[in-house]
């Protein structure tokens, strides 16, 4: 238990699972595919738990460099580097480095832990799917890339993981690729991500140009060593990194791919688009916090983007009828909260919310998947209802999740959301405005989540011919585990969490001169959530005809929300169509057909023409051949004879002509 943590095993086991299931999966029996698919995340989880145990067994979780440790153990941050450098050039040196510090340890626990639970869930959910082995291989591929991203010690290795999870997301969103909507959704996700990645790449270039290195620790050291970095440069770098994070974490304006990504299987939505991949942006900002700390403008932008996204997505979620779409917009909204936290330099609060969000959002998605499974694939909430008697385990676990996300005490999200709102409130004048936005969003969150809760589980079943049945145990067990985590996940408290994470993200305590401010703000948040609950109760349980009347009374506003503010249509008209026209007409016709085709046609024409001209020479006329032969022989003779003007003629000719 006390040996080195063997960090390289953590990505490698899922990679092995991916290769085995991907190459041999179709030929292996189902139980073997399941075993391989589950062993990979379980193995990674075991390594992570081992590392946690060793790291936690030292006195004081924070780093203590002066202490002596039992031989063979390690302390954080623990760096593992591959002996062969990846890039070894005069201007750029990049290694394959894995770093385990407090931040990456927390993320790894979430990724492998929740990941393992979702793998177990998938065994039951995807039982009847013909692409079973392919599904598990893609899930393991995702785990490989995600753990690489988390463990990365420099920006380039993180970028590898970054792109890789985008790829895995594409593969999994378009898992049922025969459906055109799924294939289109996969493409959309990848392309929108790519736009953000472009910003990320520019950020990497700027980092390299300004710091000469891409390793996080070295950049932090260089930054700390000299206080005279121009904030303009740092702001530029941070804004570029923010662009990448916004793409990956579905913030304004690059969020449009996440609702469409619900075309994938529900466990995929739970794992990738709720718990882990979309949080990579938040993780990246926390990882590079030393840059953002020195660029206040960029930090402010992060906060504004986060808050705007949070309220924007919450309003859209009010009018959605697909259960997974509501959860998707909820995810976007909660990610906005995390960005808001980063923006007010409360990185620990952001990570805290990341952890709790992973628990309850995964639970929400898995429970929704259970509902969909029970309803035989139906996802429209208007056709559900009254399911709480038929699906008891699902109902109770989903209730826990709904109350958690609303922010009720003493469930997990209360602590994390409260930490974020408190940090925003004490962050100056603008912070109070952000706090208010966050509060409104909390009310909306409670409202649309309870709306979902009521529409799905209460009332009468609105579809006559459905036979809902409870899910198998492989699907119920993860729900229960996640529910337990949602209940007690926040009890560690933000203070202890912050002090634990301090070596990695810095300590930015939110202090206020007003006593008990945190308590007051917490009570306000719970009251707001209660109000949302009561509104939902009125409109969706007691007077269920009122929502339709309201929608009829305000048709324009309702249509605006239901159609997601027409953002997709806007993008389509303003960005996609011109690009399409450009590719088709300018690149396709002008460049490809006219210029390149013209050049090819010209070359062919020259060849043809010269061929036609030279063809005349081969007339088949013997006499002309004879004549040309004679002419050639005469020319040769002439050349030999008169060649002495230019070169040395053969000695015999010289002797003959000159006469020796």
């Amino acid at each position: 238990m006390n040996g080195p943590p063997h960090l390289w095993l953590i990505p490698l086991l899922p990679l092995a699972g991916f290769l085995l299931n991907g190459i041999l999966g179709a030929r292996l029996p189902r139980w073997l595919v399941t075993t391989i698919g589950l062993l990979a995340p379980l193995g990674a989880l075991a390594v992570v738990l081992n590392a946690t145990a060793v790291a936690a067994s030292h006195p004081g979780i924070t780093v203590c460099k002066g202490c002596t440790y039992p031989q063979g153990s390690f302390y954080l941050p623990n760096v593992e580097t591959c002996p062969h450098a990846w890039i070894a050039l005069p201007g750029l040196h990049v290694d394959f480095t894995f770093v385990l510090d407090q931040l990456s340890l927390v993320m790894l626990l979430v990724v492998t832990g929740v990941g393992f639970l979702i793998h177990v869930y998938s065994v039951g959910y995807m039982r009847d799917d013909p692409g079973y082995a392919r599904y598990f291989s893609y899930l393991n591929l995702f785990l490989f890339f995600m753990t690489t991203l988390v463990l990365a010690g420099n920006v380039l290795v993180m970028f590898v993981g970054w792109e890789g999870v985008g790829l895995a997301s594409y593969l999994l969103i378009g898992f049922w690729f025969q459906k055109p909507s799924a294939a289109a959704a996969g493409k959309k996700a990848f392309i929108v991500n790519r736009i953000g990645d472009f910003g990320f790449l520019i950020g990497i270039f700027l980092l390299l140009a300004n710091f000469g290195t891409l390793t996080f620790s070295e950049i932090a050291n260089k930054l700390a060593a000299s206080p005279i970095w121009s904030s303009g440069v740092l702001t530029a770098i941070c804004l570029c990194l923010l662009a990448g994070a916004a793409g990956k974490s579905a913030q304004l304006p690059l969020y449009v791919w996440l609702p469409d990504a619900m075309e994938g299987p529900t466990p995929v939505s739970a794992l990738i688009h709720a718990a882990t991949m979309v949080t990579a942006g938040v993780y990246m900002i926390a990882r590079t916090h030393f840059l953002f700390d020195r660029a206040p403008i960029a930090l402010g932008t992060v906060a504004i983007v986060g808050a705007a996204t949070a309220i924007f997505a919450a309003t859209i979620a009010l009018a959605q009828n697909d259960i997974k779409r509501v959860l998707a917009y909820s995810t976007i909204s909660q990610l906005g909260y995390m960005f808001l936290a980063c923006g007010v330099a409360a990185y620990s609060a952001a990570i805290f919310h990341l952890v709790t969000h992973a628990f309850f959002k995964a639970l929400l998605f898995l429970a929704a998947g259970s509902v969909i499974h029970a309803m035989g694939g139906e996802q429209d909430m208007r056709k559900m209802g009254g399911l709480r008697k038929k699906l008891p385990v699902t109902f109770w676990t989903m209730t826990v999740a709904v109350f958690t996300i609303a922010g009720f005490w003493p469930l997990a999200a209360f602590y994390s959301k409260d930490a974020i709102l408190y940090a925003a409130f004490v962050h100056g004048v603008g912070g109070k405005f952000l706090w208010f936005v966050g509060l409104v969003t909390a009310m909306l969150t409670a409202l649309y989540m309870f709306r979902l809760w009521y529409m799905t589980f209460f009332g009468e079943l609105r579809t006559a011919d459905a036979h809902p049945h409870e899910s198998p145990w492989s699907m119920r067990a993860p729900l229960i585990v996640l529910a337990l985590l949602s209940i007690c996940g926040g009890w560690i408290g933000i203070e202890r969490f912050s002090s634990y994470l301090a070596p990695a993200v810095g300590l930015h305590p939110a202090v206020s001169s007003f006593p008990h401010l945190e308590l007051i703000l917490g009570i306000v948040a719970v009251l707001v959530a209660l109000e949302g609950f009561l509104i939902a109760d009125k409109y969706y349980r007691r007077k269920t005809e009122r929502p339709a009347q309201l929608a009829a009374a305000m048709p324009a506003e309702y249509k605006l929300l239901a159609n997601k503010y027409y953002v997709d249509e806007f993008y389509d008209a303003r960005l996609v169509k011109p690009l399409f026209w450009f590719s088709q007409f300018v690149l396709g016709w002008v460049v490809d057909f006219a210029i390149l085709g013209g050049i090819a046609w010209l070359l062919a024409g020259i060849a043809n023409l010269s061929g036609a001209i030279l063809q005349r020479w081969q007339s088949g006329n013997l006499r002309s051949y004879a004549a040309w032969l004679a002419l050639g022989a005469a020319a040769l003779l002439l050349f030999v004879l008169l060649g002495h003007h230019f070169a040395e003629p053969p000695r015999i000719m010289v002797n003959l002509v000159r006469g020796h």
Binding site: N621, R623, A630, L641, L656, G659, H660
Partner: protein, 181 residues
């Protein structure tokens, strides 16, 4: 003596060559060429190449020209006609050849150090060896390989000639059928 013989047989050569060009029927040309070959054989004798003279008569005049005559008679092509093409060729060809001849003559006449051919003097004055002995010494020692290869070449030529000129059954049947239509 040498001079007379030379002039006589050189004259025969030239006459035969000119006749070859003058005649319209190929058989006449073939016979003129035989005259040229034979005269050349005599000229070789005058230059001390006895073996070559005999080889010339046997191979060239006796085999090759007979082959030519045989083919002419087989194909029975008939006289040539004057056409536009042949007139144009004559107009271009004659001056070109005159130029060629002028160049060659210039080179030959400007050459110095050429000996005179003496009748009866061969390549060697050794009484024990003759032209034939010299020839065979070189041919069967140094140049044995080319000698053998030449025989292979002739074999290939025979095979080739047989393969090309032989009538193939389907071809004949096809051409006969089309001729009937």
């Amino acid at each position: 003596m040498h001079l007379i013989l030379f002039f006589l047989f050189a004259g025969f050569c030239l006459a035969g060559a000119i006749n070859l060009l003058w005649q319209t029927h190929p058989i006449n040309s073939a016979l003129s060429l035989i005259v040229v070959m034979t005269s050349l054989a005599v000229l070789y004798l005058l230059l001390g190449a006895e073996f070559l003279a005999i080889a010339q008569i046997i191979v060239y005049a006796g085999a090759v020209m007979v082959l030519f005559t045989f083919v002419v008679m087989l194909l029975n092509a008939g006289r040539e006609e004057r056409t536009l093409g042949s007139r144009a060729a004559a107009r271009v060809g004659f001056p070109a050849v005159v130029v060629l001849l002028a160049v060659l003559a210039t080179i030959i006449l400007r050459a110095q150090g050429l000996a005179s051919a003496h009748l009866g003097q061969g390549l060697t004055s050794d009484p024990n060896s003759s032209n034939l002995v010299l020839l065979s010494q070189v041919l069967f020692h140094e140049l044995l390989l080319p000698f053998e290869l030449t025989s292979v070449l002739i074999l290939i030529a025979i095979l080739g000639a047989v393969a090309i000129a032989r009538r193939e059954g389907s071809e004949v049947g096809g051409s006969e059928r089309t001729a009937e239509k």
